[in-house]
Symmetry: C2
Subunit: 228 residues, 2 copies
DNA sequence: TCGCTCCAGATTGGATACAATCCGTCCATG
DNA sequence: CATGGACGGATTGTATCCAATCTGGAGCGA
């Protein structure tokens, strides 16, 4: 019975958290020896976790120089959200007809979980609940590959999402927008749901974009050069 | 100057070839010791390459049991092509206005490369040229994330594409369809290009789908069980 | 025959050790 | 003062070794 996680999976989870919370910020080099010690493992499983994050697009890798947390340009960010719009719309339109009342109820419960985490001020829990809320809808489309692509796109901006839930105003708007979406779901109003969802996404990209420019982040070691 | 490839990159390339050519077929377990010896490296860089292929969706991984070449169901295959349709249409529509005459000429040249490889009967070269032809168009959209997602979707079915180019009839149709697409490109007729491209994709999925069912493949060791 | 437990071999997971490469610095040279 | 080249520490890349886990079959009993 494999209740015991492998070291690489444990490390992967911790890396995701550290990127999400900003412990590892955009541009930072991930020095393997230091990280391995920090997580209490050797470099071998760490490197496999890094490789996973690289192919998800959260890290960039330069042979013989190492892994760095990606630095998104404004263009990158807009592209990610443009692709999300395309794919999330498709997912929702496929999902809604497949949802029964119990599914909708479950999604509603997840929405309340977010509010609870928000009240507790637990940013990690909130991000996590938020993701479960949205993916409960996307996954209902019954298209696992689509869900997978959407997870990647979401994770690609994790490094910049940390600050989003700090603001009180943002948290309230999120709550309201989610409630409206649940109502549209109950009514099985696909067009309205998609419209609300698009608006919701647009709000969040605006906030993240504002965070993007005025950064004077000091990298851990060196900025990666262009491909030599 | 890093002309020298790292072992993991070399192994990754060889793994892709072996999957593409069917040396490693759907359902096969990738026994690390054997593969490492085959490629002349140790298991460490091999495992990193395997991890990359796993997160691209070409392999599945069960902790303590190993990596297996994915076995696509008909539903999986249809989903991949449905997603490709969505994303490729978007890519083409963004790309065409950005193409100048020189770009179109380049794409036309790539089309001839495919024909040349087909004449030589070199399946690997043909697949490679075909991919460069299509991605010359997709990449022109100037959306690197989109290109990346499309690469993943293409690679996801590599294990089943090997047989496609064996048939003489398929090869001729591919040539004709590509020529028609180049003509539409020269005329900057976006709608026509997208339509031709959709048709082209539909043909190929039909052929692959036919390959999918009547399989009596003998796996290398054991079929992976469902998630325990 | 069927189902169960336990053991041995096979295979994967991870730690350590060492080799290859990179990068900043110092110094010589023009 | 600028430039280039060589050295050394830091970091990454890979091989080897051992531990942990799984698989399949032998043996046994119902």
């Amino acid at each position: 019975m494999s209740v015991r996680l492998t070291a690489q999976d444990a490390v992967l989870a911790r890396l995701r958290d550290d990127i999400l919370t900003g412990v590892l910020g955009p541009g930072d080099q991930l020095v393997q020896e230091a990280l391995a010690e920090r997580y209490g493992v050797s470099r071998v499983p760490l490197r496999e976790a890094l490789k996973t994050l690289e192919s998800e697009g959260q890290l960039v890798y330069y042979p013989h120089r190492g892994y760095f947390v990606v630095e998104l340009s404004v263009d990158d960010l807009r592209e990610v959200y443009q692709l999300r719009a395309l794919l999330e719309d498709a997912a929702l339109r496929a999902a809604v007809p497949a949802l029964d009342d119990q599914d909708v109820q479950h999604i509603s419960t997840l929405s309340e979980e977010i509010d609870q985490a928000a009240a507790d001020g637990d940013v990690i829990a909130m991000t996590d609940a938020n993701r479960r809320f949205h993916f409960a809808m996307y996954d209902a489309a019954g298209m696992p590959r689509l869900s997978r692509l959407l997870r990647q796109l979401w994770e690609a901006t994790d490094a910049y999402r940390a600050i989003y839930y700090q603001g009180e105003a943002n948290r309230h708007r999120v709550t309201d927008e989610h409630s409206a979406m649940v109502l549209a779901l109950r009514a099985r109003d696909i067009d309205r749901l998609v419209a609300l969802h698009d608006e919701h996404r647009t709000h969040s990209v605006a906030v993240v974009e504002a965070q993007l420019n005025p950064r004077d982040h000091i990298p851990h070691r060196t900025y990666p050069r262009e491909n030599p």
